[in-house]
C-alpha cells in the first residue's frame, strides 16, 4: 500500500491509554487526511504527547485501534518506522555529537545509500541554516538551532508523515515563525504533518485542528469553522475600573466567561445577550461602560470547548 492511495494517513477508533488509575487518552476518534498540517491543541496533561507516542508505536494503546499510513499498530510498527518522522518534545539527538555526526548517524540508521546520505545531509544543513554549526556539538547550540537540527533529523529519510510534539516550546517568536514556514514547505512537498502545541497563534495556522481536554477530543474541524461555530458571542467592555466591573459581571445571567485583556474586559455571552443589555446591566449598578461586539478567536473556542466538558463532569 502506498501513501498516495490513501486519503487518510491516520485513523484511530476508540483509542485509549491508561497509566495506573489515570486515563490519559479516552476513546479518541481521529482521522487525519493526507497533506494536512493537523494541529493538536490542548493544555498540559491533555494527552497530546501520549497520543503522538501511540501513533508512532512508542506506547501500546490500552484499548482501541490505530492505523497509520495503512499500517495497523502496534503490530506493524517496524514497517511504519521507515515512513515516519518523529520530533520529540525535548531535544533527543546526541548532545555530545556534532551536528554533522548526528545527521550522519541518522542517515546510517535509516540505511540511506551513502551517496544520497551525503547529498541529503548537505541539502538539509543548507535548508535549515546549520552549515556554520556543522562541527559544533549539538549540546552547545541555542534552542532555535537545536530545533532546526531536530527537524532536519526527523525529515532526513523523507517520511510520508511527520509527528511533532510541541516543537516550538523552547524557541523565540522569530524562530517559531521560521519553523512554521518549514512545516508548510514540507506539507507542500506532500508530507502530512501532525503537530501538537499549546500556542493559539500556532493552532490557528493549522489546516485542521483537534482540541484535546483531559484525554478526550472536544473539538475537531478547521480553525475557521471552529470559530464560526463558537457558541455565544464575544464582547469587548471598556470601563473605568475593570476589576470591579468584572466582579459585577461574573454572576450575571447570560455571561459565560469574563477575562481581563489589558485595561478592558472580554466577555463571552449567550447568543441572545446583546451589547446593549450588558451596558444597561452595568449602568444599573452605577458603572459606565462602552460595550462592542468582537470577532471570535481560537482562544474563545478553546476556553468554551474545555469549559463545557468541565461543567459536564463537575
Amino acid at each position: 500500500m502506498t501513501a498516495s492511495a490513501e486519503p487518510t494517513v491516520i485513523r484511530t477508533r476508540g483509542l485509549s491509554k491508561r497509566f495506573g488509575d489515570t486515563l490519559a487518552v479516552d476513546s479518541l476518534e481521529l482521522a487525519v487526511a493526507r497533506g494536512e498540517v493537523y494541529g493538536f491543541l490542548g493544555p498540559n496533561g491533555s494527552g497530546k504527547s501520549t497520543t503522538l507516542r501511540m501513533l508512532c508505536g512508542l506506547l501500546r494503546p490500552s484499548a482501541g485501534e490505530i492505523e497509520v499510513l495503512g499500517h495497523r499498530l502496534p503490530g506493524e510498527a517496524e514497517a511504519l518506522k521507515r515512513r515516519l518522522g518523529y520530533m520529540t518534545q525535548s531535544f533527543s539527538l546526541y548532545r555530545d555529537l556534532s551536528v554533522a555526526e548526528n545527521l550522519a548517524f541518522l542517515a546510517a540508521v535509516h540505511e540511506l545509500p551513502r551517496r544520497e546520505a551525503h547529498k541529503r545531509r548537505e541539502a538539509l544543513l543548507a535548508r535549515y541554516r546549520l552549515e556554520r554549526f556543522r562541527h559544533r556539538l549539538a549540546g552547545t547550540l541555542s534552542g532555535g538551532e537545536r530545533q532546526r537540527l531536530a527537524l532536519a533529523g526527523a525529515v532526513l529519510h523523507r517520511p510520508d508523515l511527520l509527528l511533532l510534539d510541541e516543537p516550538t516550546s523552547a524557541v523565540d517568536p522569530q524562530s517559531r515563525r521560521d519553523f512554521w514556514e518549514s512545516l508548510f514547505e514540507l506539507a507542500d512537498a506532500g508530507t502530512s504533518v501532525l503537530v501538537s502545541t499549546h500556542y493559539m497563534d500556532e493552532a490557528e495556522r493549522c489546516t485542521r485542528l483537534a482540541i484535546l481536554d483531559r484525554g478526550r477530543l472536544v473539538a475537531d474541524d478547521t480553525p475557521r469553522a471552529l470559530m464560526a461555530a463558537l457558541p455565544g458571542r464575544p464582547l469587548r467592555v471598556e470601563v473605568e475600573r475593570p476589576r470591579a466591573a468584572r466582579r459585577l459581571l461574573e454572576g450575571t445571567r447570560g455571561v459565560r466567561e469574563v477575562a481581563q485583556i489589558g485595561a478592558a474586559l472580554r466577555l463571552l455571552v449567550d447568543d441572545d445577550a446583546s451589547p446593549e443589555a450588558i451596558a444597561a446591566r452595568l449602568h444599573e449598578a452605577g458603572v459606565e461602560a462602552r460595550v462592542t461586539p468582537e470577532a471570535p478567536t481560537l482562544e474563545d473556542v478553546f476556553v468554551a470547548a474545555t469549559r463545557r466538558r468541565r461543567e459536564a463532569t463537575a
Binding site: G57, L58, R82, T88, S90, Y94, D96, L106, V109, E111
Partner: protein, 363 residues
C-alpha cells in the same frame, strides 16, 4: 540485524566515549591504580614491623639472635627497653607493632628446651601483625651448636602464601577484578544513559532494533576490556615480574569469555535500572560479593561451604581459576574447561533474562 546500523551505533559510541574524558581516564586509570595499590600497598608479606626489644640476657648469643631476627626483615628494632612493662606502654601508644623479650635466663632455657626461650608481645587485634608473629614463632629456635647456619631466609616463612610472592597471585586476580569493576558498570550505565537522556524516544521511532542498539553499545567495551587485560599484564610484568607461564592465546580467550560474561551482567542490570545512578549502585552490589568471595581477597578453601556454594555462581570465581591456572601453572583451556563452561552458562543465562525483559517501547 543490519551491519550498517550496527556499525553506525558502534561508531557513535566510540565518538561519545572519546569525548567523555572521565570515563576514558577510568578505562586506563583504574587498572594502573589498582595494580599499584594491590601490588605494593596491600602486600600480604608483612615486613619491617617496628619492634621494641628487651634484652635482659645481654649475652653474645642473645645479641646474635636479635640480629638474626632482624635479618629476616620481618622486624626492625626501633627501640630498646629495660623491662617488659615498658613494652606494654609502647604498644598501647602505637609506637611499635610488637615487643621482643629475651629473659635473663635465655641461655638456660635454650639449653634445657623445656620453656619458650623468647617471648613475643603483639597487638592481637591486627591480623597482619598476628600473621607475622606466627612466622616468627616458626623461626628455628637455635640449638647449642651452629644454629646460625640453620636460620631460614625470610621467604620460607611465607606459609600463608603458597605462591610465595603476593603480586604473583594478585596480578592475575586483578585482571578479573578490574574487568568486573569497570565493564559491568560501564555497560549498565551506557545502556541506561540512552533512556535517561531521552535519546531512546528518538531511536525507537527509527528502524533500529533493540539488539542492534544493545550490541552496538556493548561491542566497544569488548575492545576496551582487552586493552585493560593488556595493560595489567604489561605492568604486572614490568613492575612485579609476573610471568605468563601458559599460552598467551589461552589467556586472551579466557579473558574474552569473562568480558562477555561481565557485559551480559551489565546488560541485565541495565534492564532493571531506571537511572544511571541506579545502574551504578547495582553494579557495585554485584561487585562486592565477587571481590570478597571469588578467592581474590581470601583463600577460597578457607571459606564455609555456604559461601563457597554461592561463590560458584559468580563469574569472577571461575575466571580466577582460569587465569591463575594459565598464568601460574601453565594449564591449558582444555584442562580448565569446567570454569570456561560455567562462564558460558552464566553469559547465556544473563543474556536470556535480559532479552526477555528488553522491548523496543517506552512502556
Amino acid at each position: 540485524m543490519k551491519a550498517r546500523r550496527l556499525l553506525a551505533i558502534v561508531l557513535k559510541e566510540l565518538r561519545q566515549l572519546r569525548r567523555d574524558k572521565l570515563t576514558f581516564a577510568m578505562i586506563v586509570g583504574i587498572p594502573v591504580m589498582q595494580l599499584v595499590l594491590f601490588g605494593y600497598a596491600i602486600n600480604v608479606d608483612v615486613r619491617h614491623l617496628q619492634a621494641v626489644v628487651v634484652n635482659e640476657a645481654e649475652t653474645a648469643r642473645s645479641r646474635e639472635l636479635i640480629a638474626q631476627l632482624e635479618a629476616t626483615q620481618v622486624i626492625d628494632v626501633a627501640e630498646r627497653a629495660a623491662t617488659p612493662g615498658e613494652v606494654e606502654a609502647r604498644l598501647r601508644r602505637g609506637a611499635v607493632d610488637l615487643g621482643l623479650v629475651l629473659p635473663a635466663d635465655l641461655e638456660t632455657r635454650l639449653e634445657r628446651g623445656d620453656r619458650p626461650a623468647v617471648q613475643l608481645i603483639v597487638d592481637g587485634a591486627d591480623p597482619a601483625v598476628q600473621a607475622a608473629a606466627r612466622q616468627l614463632v616458626r623461626f628455628p629456635v637455635p640449638d647449642a651448636e651452629g644454629w646460625t647456619d640453620r636460620v631460614s631466609p625470610v621467604e620460607t616463612v611465607n606459609f600463608y602464601n603458597p605462591e610465595r610472592r603476593a603480586p604473583l597471585n594478585t596480578v592475575p586476580g586483578l585482571i578479573g577484578v578490574i574487568l568486573t569493576m569497570t565493564l559491568v558498570m560501564f555497560t549498565a550505565i551506557a545502556l541506561v544513559r540512552e533512556r535517561e537522556n531521552g535519546n531512546l524516544e528518538m531511536l525507537i521511532a527509527t528502524p533500529v532494533t533493540s539488539w542492534e542498539l544493545t550490541l552496538g553499545k556493548v561491542l566497544p567495551f569488548v575492545g576496551i576490556g582487552l586493552v585493560q587485560v593488556t595493560v595489567v599484564l604489561g605492568l604486572g610484568q614490568v613492575l612485579f615480574d609476573v610471568p605468563v607461564r601458559g599460552s598467551i592465546l589461552d589467556l586472551y580467550l579466557a579473558s574474552l569469555v569473562f568480558i562477555l560474561a561481565s557485559l551480559a551482567l551489565g546488560i541485565f542490570l541495565s534492564t532493571l535500572a531506571r537511572s544511571q545512578f541506579q545502574a551504578m549502585q547495582m553494579a557495585i552490589f554485584t561487585f562486592l560479593p565477587q571481590i570478597l568471595l571469588s578467592g581474590f581477597m581470601f583463600p577460597f578453601a578457607g571459606m564455609p561451604a555456604a559461601a563457597r556454594g554461592f561463590a560458584e555462581l559468580l563469574p569472577l570465581t571461575h575466571f580466577l581459576r582460569l587465569v591463575r591456572g594459565i598464568m601460574l601453572r601453565d594449564a591449558t583451556l582444555l584442562e580448565l574447561w569446567p570454569a570456561l563452561a560455567a562462564l558460558a552458562v552464566f553469559t547465556a543465562l544473563m543474556l536470556g533474562v535480559a532479552v526477555s525483559r528488553m522491548h523496543k517501547r517506552l512502556d
